[in-house]
């Protein structure tokens, strides 16, 4: 068969068969018992030439309302942000994207060094001592943090704030089921974790208390108070954080967090219909040897040249097998590279400037909604998201907004009883004053 990805010619094939000492390729499959042998071809769509397939897929893509052609006010854990153009140029260096995991350090120094830099940047942002090379996403990273906590404390109960991302909570619960760990939700009050309820629920059998900062509603948790309550019982303080917010907000490390996880998607990673994104995992020095996933460390060769290697591998599945505490193998290395390039491009000043811009623009939008007679559900401080109460179902409002090329916010009624007709709105640095004003006006018209 002639195909641009398959270089063997008929004469190659014949020479190779002869060299092996068989007369046909079929003979090489003679070890497959006849009963299970698949004969013929798959009943799937026929192959298409490059141009025709490109066109078909472009048309399929065009059926979607993308964030480039529409104005987005949806967040809920995934955000439409400025992606420096340089990011994709670096990612397109195929020495990076066509490489495997850097198990051969001598020819993988580029990847290893880039990840070492990523680990440093995540440590800096979160205020933690150690960060790993990435996890699948913020949700599974949080679930692994819960598992680490249970293993480390030898306790079987996790308290999770109900103001954590509902899909993250679901993932934590699925992982916990696997390990026979109980997950109990701490209720929220006024859009943040209910401190009094938390006080009543903590005890010496709690492995970890999990909060999100900023939380799912965009609000800021009382980090100091929560930390004190958590550590009183020697439970671990686990925080899921949007790393962009930490450009302007006091990092969880300063508030005494033991484990900080989240998703680096806001840095250089497109929304991509929910993935691939980039989970991150950061801990105190004390927990360094319990971190799941790959870690890159600095060392030297015999000539004193600096080099980087995968290290502390005794923690990992390929060494520990059934004694491993996590089974993660592939991670999101290329997305970690994207995040590194974006964090580098933004740099020390840009990360703060971008975070502050989110705060300012979201605040402006919130004020506009208030001025236009909307009720803001939770009055506290927020980062780049807030909740607006509507008179109509959010789905209905969103479908009308779509006709105006606006992608409205998230329908909180899907996950929170009592929050029907509540929309979670995200305003990032990309939204202009004009777009915000138009959005508020359209919302007013629809909601009237």
């Amino acid at each position: 068969m002639k195909h641009r990805y398959l270089p063997l010619t008929e004469s190659d094939k014949n020479a190779m068969l002869e060299s092996i000492g068989v007369s046909s390729i079929d003979e090489l499959f003679s070890d497959i018992p006849e009963k299970v042998r698949f004969t013929g071809e798959y009943n799937i769509k026929k192959a298409k030439p490059e141009t025709a397939l490109m066109k078909e897929l472009a048309q399929m893509a065009a059926k979607n309302a993308d964030l480039k052609r529409n104005t987005s006010f949806i967040g809920a854990g995934v955000y439409d942000h400025y992606i420096p153009v340089i990011v994709d140029h670096v990612l397109s260096r195929s020495e990076f994207y066509t490489a495997y995991t850097p198990y051969q350090p001598e020819i993988s120094q580029g990847e290893l060094q880039a990840i070492f830099e990523f680990q440093t940047m995540i440590s800096e942002l979160t205020g933690m001592e150690v960060a790993n090379s990435s996890m699948y996403d913020g949700g599974t990273a949080l679930a692994e943090a819960a598992m680490l906590s249970a293993g480390h404390t030898r306790r079987k109960k996790i308290l999770i704030s109900s103001a954590v991302h509902p899909e993250y909570k679901d993932v934590v619960k699925t992982y916990a089921k696997g390990q026979y760990i109980d997950v109990v939700e701490v209720p929220y009050k006024d859009g943040v974790t209910d401190i009094d309820a938390l006080k009543g629920m903590t005890s010496e059998d709690v492995a970890a208390v999990i909060v999100q900062y900023p939380n799912f509603f965009g609000g800021l948790e009382s980090m100091k108070e929560i930390e004190a309550i958590v550590h009183e019982n020697k439970s671990l303080f686990v925080v899921s954080s949007n790393p962009l917010a930490l450009g302007a907000l006091t990092p969880p490390g300063k508030f005494g967090a033991d484990i900080v996880t989240g998703d680096a998607q806001p840095f250089g990673i497109p929304t991509a219909f929910g993935g691939p994104h980039c989970g991150y995992f950061a801990v105190t020095g004390k927990l360094m040897r319990k971190v799941p996933g790959r870690l890159v460390g600095q060392t030297k060769d015999d000539q004193g040249r600096r080099g980087f290697v995968l290290t502390l591998q005794a923690r990992e599945q390929h060494i520990r097998r059934d004694k491993a505490t996590s089974n993660i193998c592939s991670n999101q290395a290329l997305n970690a590279l994207a995040a590194s390039v974006a964090m580098t491009a933004l740099g020390k000043k840009g990360v703060r400037e971008m975070a502050v811009s989110n705060i300012q623009k979201a605040h402006y939008a919130k004020q506009k909604f208030k001025e236009n007679g909307f009720e803001i559900a939770f009055e506290g401080h927020s980062f780049n998201e807030f909740v607006v109460k509507l008179n109509k179902p959010v789905k209905e409002v969103n479908q009308k907004l779509l006709k105006k090329d606006i992608i409205g916010g998230y329908d909180l009624g899907r996950d929170f009883s009592g929050l029907e007709n509540h929309m979670l709105i995200a305003v990032t640095e990309l939204r202009t004053k004009e777009e915000i004003d138009t959005f508020v006006k359209e919302m007013g018209d629809i909601n009237a």
Partner: protein
């Protein structure tokens, strides 16, 4: 710093330089201290680099030159299926209508994305011979764990709480036992026989009323097809257990044998291997899981369904194990895999497997005179040599791997599987030409000769890389896991 070191981006940083262009701040600004509670405004800026766009591009270009990918040269890393990553996949995944979609926007506005997911599910169902597929798991290990969680839910739903054990061959990938543990099972190892296949007698001994599942890769990690697969299925099913297929090696049997027809109940695929999603330096992957009908109720939610020409997410699945990942999986990788499958078509996928197997057998036969071949029979997509003969000369498999670097190759997988001494596991893939294979064979033969005549050159390799062998012991004893500014 050594003069040959590539500086860290932090070492290239100069205060005052910028590499960004943020949108204008066009709304009236409030006093930040009014917008944040006391104590919440970050005091010290994070120590991130400050560099211009050209500085940054040069830095990463320099790093890329210190890295070997499939596009740089041959990459016969066993069990990893390092085949060509088609460039078209990259273009399609970057279409605005795929790359810039929000996972939570209204279903009516993402019909094209759902159509792609649905059609990919349908294609994978046919390719694996299963009844339903979820695209949610992010990678192979994640798929393994998802599949095992479903098996657990299935047994529990049948009131079968005592099935706590998962049987795994001694040749299995490390993720298999780790996934079993994380899914709450105990692992039992089943031995390989002298032919490198699962020992049926030993399997009969270890199965029982406590068996939840047998996890198997077929062909196994030695690259050998488990010929007794139907007998094994009968033994496991007869005891009430389920059969789990680790699809890491699917490239060996596409269009030749389907897991569903071999008796497997659950299968995960590595779309970043067989279906050309690039490996990305370690990820992202994608690990869809296919199941037979009796396990469908336990699939993670949501699943994409189609009713009257409209695609939707089905969340109404009361017996589901729940969510294993936020949103719907690594969609961007699934787009690439779908593009690949549609590029190849049924005849193309069949040719892929045939050429992958032809390439592997050709290399195996050519190298069998110079290295020990522990299992002398047709292999599938990969084969395992043993460096035993060279070890007697004082040259270890690690040395052979490092010496290959001097020839511009990525070495094979080494010291795996664990049941072969000094293992060298070679997987050429179908996208390599005969010339490439021949050149690699020549290099391997030369190294075998060097081991006899001039072992130092192998033992001290590599000689041509940007760094030599690195001190991994110190790296682990005194870990430096981040850059610290010199005081």
């Amino acid at each position: 710093m050594h003069k040959e070191d590539q500086p860290l981006i932090f070492e290239l940083s100069t205060p005052g330089r910028v590499g960004y262009s943020l949108p204008e701040m066009d709304v009236p600004e409030a006093d930040l201290t009014d917008l944040l509670p006391e104590g919440f405004l970050r005091e010290d800026d994070p120590e991130l680099p400050e560099a211009s766009e050209l500085d940054i591009m040069r830095h990463y270009t320099a790093l890329s030159k210190r890295n070997h990918g499939v596009d740089s040269g041959f990459y016969p890393l066993g069990s990893c299926t390092m085949k060509y990553n088609p460039k078209m996949n990259e273009n399609v995944a970057r279409f605005d209508g795929f790359a810039h979609l929000h996972p939570l926007q209204d279903e009516s506005s993402v019909q094209g994305a759902l159509e792609l997911m649905y059609d990919l599910q349908e294609h994978l169902i046919e390719i694996t011979g299963m009844d339903e597929v979820t695209l949610q798991p992010a990678a192979g290990a994640h798929g393994e764990w998802t599949g095992l969680m479903m098996i657990r839910a299935y047994h529990e739903a049948n009131g079968d709480q005592s099935r706590t054990k998962v049987i795994i061959p001694d040749s299995a990938h490390g993720t298999n036992p780790a996934s079993a543990t994380v899914a709450g099972f105990e692992t039992i190892t089943v031995k390989s026989d002298k032919n490198g296949l699962v020992d049926l007698e030993d399997l009969k001994k270890v199965v029982g009323e406590d068996t939840a599942a047998l996890m198997l890769t077929n062909p196994n990690t030695l690259g050998l097809f488990e010929e007794n697969i139907l007998e094994m299925a009968e033994i496991v099913h007869g005891a009430g257990g389920k059969l789990y297929y680790d699809g890491a090696n699917l490239n060996a049997v596409m269009s030749k044998a389907r897991p569903g027809d071999m008796g497997f109940d659950v299968v995960h695929l590595n779309l970043h291997k067989t279906f050309t999603g690039p490996h990305g330096g370690g990820g992202p992957g994608s690990g869809p899981v296919g199941v037979k009908a009796d396990l469908i109720p336990f699939l993670p939610k949501p699943i994409v369904t189609k009713q009257d020409g409209v695609y939707k997410f089905d969340y109404d699945r009361p017996q589901s194990i729940g969510r294993v990942k936020p949103f719907y999986g690594n969609f961007g990788i699934n787009v690439r895999a779908y593009t690949y499958i549609r590029t190849m078509g049924p005849d193309g996928l069949k040719a892929v497997t045939e050429y992958a197997v032809l390439n592997a057998n050709y290399m195996m036969r050519k190298l069998a005179d110079y290295y020990d071949l522990p299992f002398n029979r047709h292999c599938k997509h990969e084969f395992v040599l043993s460096g035993k003969r060279q070890k007697k000369l004082g040259v270890r498999t690690l040395d052979i791997a490092k010496r290959l670097l001097d020839f511009g190759y990525h070495p094979p997988t080494i010291y795996f599987p664990l049941n072969v001494e000094e293992a060298i596991m070679i997987e050429p893939t179908e996208t390599e030409s005969k010339e490439t294979l021949d050149a690699f064979i020549d290099a391997m033969i030369q190294i075998a000769r060097e081991a006899e005549e001039n072992p130092e050159i192998v033992q001290e390799a590599p000689h041509s890389t940007v760094v030599g062998r690195l001190d991994e012991t110190t790296a682990a004893r005194k870990p430096i896991l981040r850059y610290q500014k010199a005081e």
